[in-house]
Amino acid sequence: MQEEKQSNSLIKQILQTISDNSLVPFLAILTAVVVGGVIIAFVGGNPILAYRGLIEGSFGSTKALSETAVWATPYIFAGLAVALAFKGGLFNIGAEGQLAVGAVASSLIGYALPEWLGYDLPAIIHLPLAVLFGVLMGGLWAAIVGWLKAYTGGHEVINTIMMNYIALNTTSFLLNGVMKDRSPTNVIARTPLIADSARIPPIFDGLRVHWGFILALLVAFGIWWLLNKTTVGFQIRTVGLNPDAAKYAGINVKRIIILTMALSGMLAGLAGTIEVTGLNYRHELGFSIGYGYDAIAIALLGKSHPLGVVLSAFLFAAMRNGATRMQFLTQMPVDLISMIQAFILLFVAADAIVRYIYRIKSKGERVVLTRGWGG
């Protein structure tokens, strides 16, 4: 009886935590939708029709659902990358670059490895190899920034931005040069198609949603488990919340900073890798239309919690995916979606606005996203 009562209150506590944490993001979304509706009306559109189009386009049919999941896949991976870094007290703005590095690495393994070896590989070896290589390179790329932070104090915000330039321009150089698809009809900066043995198959025939989406959900659970149930996660969170106490507790803070960046980069690399192996079957320059930057918004909206990231990734995916239908129905430009997303982020980041509008009192400590320069 006593036990039951306790577990009951524990469930209550967990529900309370969820509602406490999701209240502000939920209201931010609501507010952004209302503001978006006002803007649609202001420019002469019909907000109800526009939002109906958005929902139909993202959830209205099997195909729409499949496409939403396709969009959500890189969002989940990249969102987890940024969220994990936040948990470790680091602001990884470099997901976009790490994603490109991962995509380059896995596409290379995907199309070139059989050529080098001179024979075809079975999928059970080729696919994992392509994915792992992409993950590894994304991780290494980000680990450089972690190392700079740990040993020189160079701030990760600056360094990830700089590394983005290096990664994206190097990618452009490679895709226009040695890695370019040499088929005579091709004028685009892209690699050749990867071998069949390096492709992630779709889940259903005729739909584009592939097993990479399931992997994204599993990885999200895995990251939650890592952060909350393992000693490594304990160390990452401790360094993120209080690096002084972490040092006092005997944690090797420098090592954890590098490890956190590496893990974050691996997740971002995975986002690029899965797009190559599961969707496009090649690396085409510019395939990532800012996944790495949207990931920051997704991580913020999801409060850096893996479940929150999955939900926010779905929201962003649905908005992107439904935008076309919305445009078709109401002639509202797709860019409107970017505006609404920007409003959501604004209301989440400046949560005082939301708290003021809805008269919510602040509870608990503020989430620390990143520490001061050189900190």
Partner: protein, 511 residues
């Protein structure tokens, strides 16, 4: 005394903070030319009351009268205009400015667009002479010792024509001799008609200097008494609300062999200045070595260098024969160090972690707390329940965030974690009771003595001389980064220790 003599009166002041009634219908008055001490533990509401009078907070209810007239104080500007000045515990001075520049800050006197240092300096000299403050207006504040910096703060209030001066814990940073000087200045000020509110938690000082004493507890005024009709024990009872044992029960105890051996240790601070010079001492098993000294004489860097938080720049540290010089905190913990850090919120706890997680903060990676890299939450919770019981931590449950506990209970979480470790040979406790309530202080003292009686070596670093004298078997005095004296605590006197703390030269005597 007639009503006319009352210069400041606070009537029925109530202030509610989220979760705390910080000021509960408080009445307080100050007569012209008196020193009125406001006594209470941390969190009793002394600072809140003063912040309300000074205009840093607005009261929910109640009125404030200055010279019999009701005034509305909405910001410090209003209180300054009404003749109220405040010297905060942490000085509000800019070290790279001169005394004159600091004094006129916010109220600058200019002459044809540039600062008129001459006029200000003249006025400071006049104030300084009048009240016997002995402050040089042209000195750089950063070059002045703490006692003089405090006088600059007092000059600042007098320069703004304050007739009521609030001193918030002014003796916390002073040696006993400097405190005596301050008391003399306070009496000079009152002799010239200035009225002083003296906030403190130190009983001896109150009895020595105050004309009246008001004791606060839990946001309420308990009583107002004359020093002549009370004593330390009675004041302590009023402060805490129950009988308090003022002395630490300590039996004689034979010390065993050397546990901690420090030879020629040096360390630098953040600014890369050497703040610990060539320090050597030993701590034996079963004894408490207390390090006395005014704050900022290298104690922080010394304790950090001994606990792995700071790399020493020279010297050697061994524990029970094992060389631990410059080793990481993990290595030290595993060798048998228990560390109660100076800043409990910065180093000792992760405030947004649960009590249970904090109680395993240093041992999370070891069985039974983890197995193959996976945290065993059950073991953490069980450990926490045990320690909460054993160390009397007042918390609703082990799952509450450490940040939600009172300071005393936060410290108990740390003490429980550190002293319960299976292998403790040495305890380094830096300011273990700073800012705590009397009950928690008693408890933590008794735990430290328990460790000593079990044969553990204890290094106690504290700026509270009374604490060092009560707990230590031997006392070392630290001044400007050096150990200037080591004495048997039974032979030590407050006066002698105070002189050493102020830098009086002595032959180092090994006791």
């Amino acid at each position: 005394m007639t009503e006319a003599n009352i210069v400041l009166e606070a009537k029925n002041i109530t202030k509610q903070f989220p979760g705390v009634l910080a000021s509960d219908n408080v009445n307080f008055d100050l007569r012209k030319g008196e020193i009125h001490a406001l006594l209470g533990e941390n969190g009793a509401g002394k600072s809140t009351l003063m912040n309300l009078i000074y205009g840093l907070h607005l009261p929910d209810k109640g009125e404030i009268f200055v010279n019999g007239k009701p005034i509305e104080i909405k910001s410090p500007n209003d209180s300054i205009a009404a003749g109220i000045g405040m010297v905060h515990q942490h000085f509000m001075l800019i070290p790279v400015f001169t005394v004159a520049e600091n004094v006129m800050l916010g109220d600058e006197v200019t002459k044809r667009g540039s600062l008129d240092r001459v006029t200000v300096a003249a006025k400071i000299n006049e104030i300084s002479k009048q009240y016997g403050l002995d402050v040089d207006p042209n000195a750089l504040v950063g070059d002045l010792p703490v006692g003089l910096q405090q006088r600059v703060e007092i000059v600042k209030t007098l320069y703004r024509n304050a007739e009521i001066v609030i001193l918030d814990e002014p003796t916390a940073v002073l040696t006993p001799q400097e405190a005596e000087d301050l008391f003399r200045i306070m009496r000079d000020l009152t002799a010239r008609g200035v009225s002083i509110i003296f906030i403190t938690h130190k009983l001896k000082e109150v009895l020595a200097v105050a004309d009246r004493i008001t004791v606060m507890r839990a946001g309420r005024v308990i009583n107002t008494v004359q020093p002549s009709e009370t004593n330390e024990a009675q004041l302590a009872n009023m402060m805490v609300g129950r009988q308090v044992i003022l002395t630490v029960e300590k039996k004689d105890h034979a010390a065993s062999g050397d546990i901690l051996k420090v030879e020629g240790l040096s360390a630098r601070d953040q600014r890369d200045l050497e703040t610990v010079h060539n320090v050597s001492f030993t701590v034996r098993g079963g004894e408490v070595l207390g390090i006395a000294g005014v704050q900022g004489n290298g104690q922080t860097e010394l304790s950090e260098a001994l606990t792995g938080l700071r790399a020493p720049t020279g010297g050697k540290v061994t524990m029970d024969g094992i060389d631990l010089t410059g080793k990481s905190p993990r290595v030290m913990t595993e060798a048998g160090l228990a560390h109660i850090p100076e800043d409990r919120q910065r180093h000792g706890l992760v405030l947004s972690y649960s009590v249970a997680d904090n109680m395993a903060l240093c041992d999370y990676y070891r069985p039974p707390f983890s197995s193959r890299g996976v945290i065993q939450q059950k073991a953490l919770d069980e450990n926490a329940r045990k320690l909460i019981d054993a160390f009397d931590v007042r918390t609703p449950s082990p799952f509450v965030n450490a940040g939600k506990l009172s300071g005393g209970n936060q410290q108990k979480v740390i003490v429980a974690r550190e002293l319960s470790r299976h292998n403790v040979k040495l305890v380094i406790a830096n300011q273990p009771t700073r800012g705590l309530d009397v009950g928690s202080i008693e408890y933590i003292h008794s735990e430290i003595i328990k460790m000593r009686d079990r044969g553990v070596a204890v290094l106690l670093i504290s700026a509270e001389l009374d604490e060092v004298m009560a707990l230590s078997d031997r006392i070392a005095v630290m001044y400007r980064g050096q150990i200037v004296a080591v004495v048997d605590s039974k032979k030590a006197t407050r006066e002698q220790l105070g002189l050493w703390m102020a830098g009086a030269h002595v032959e180092t005597t090994q006791a």
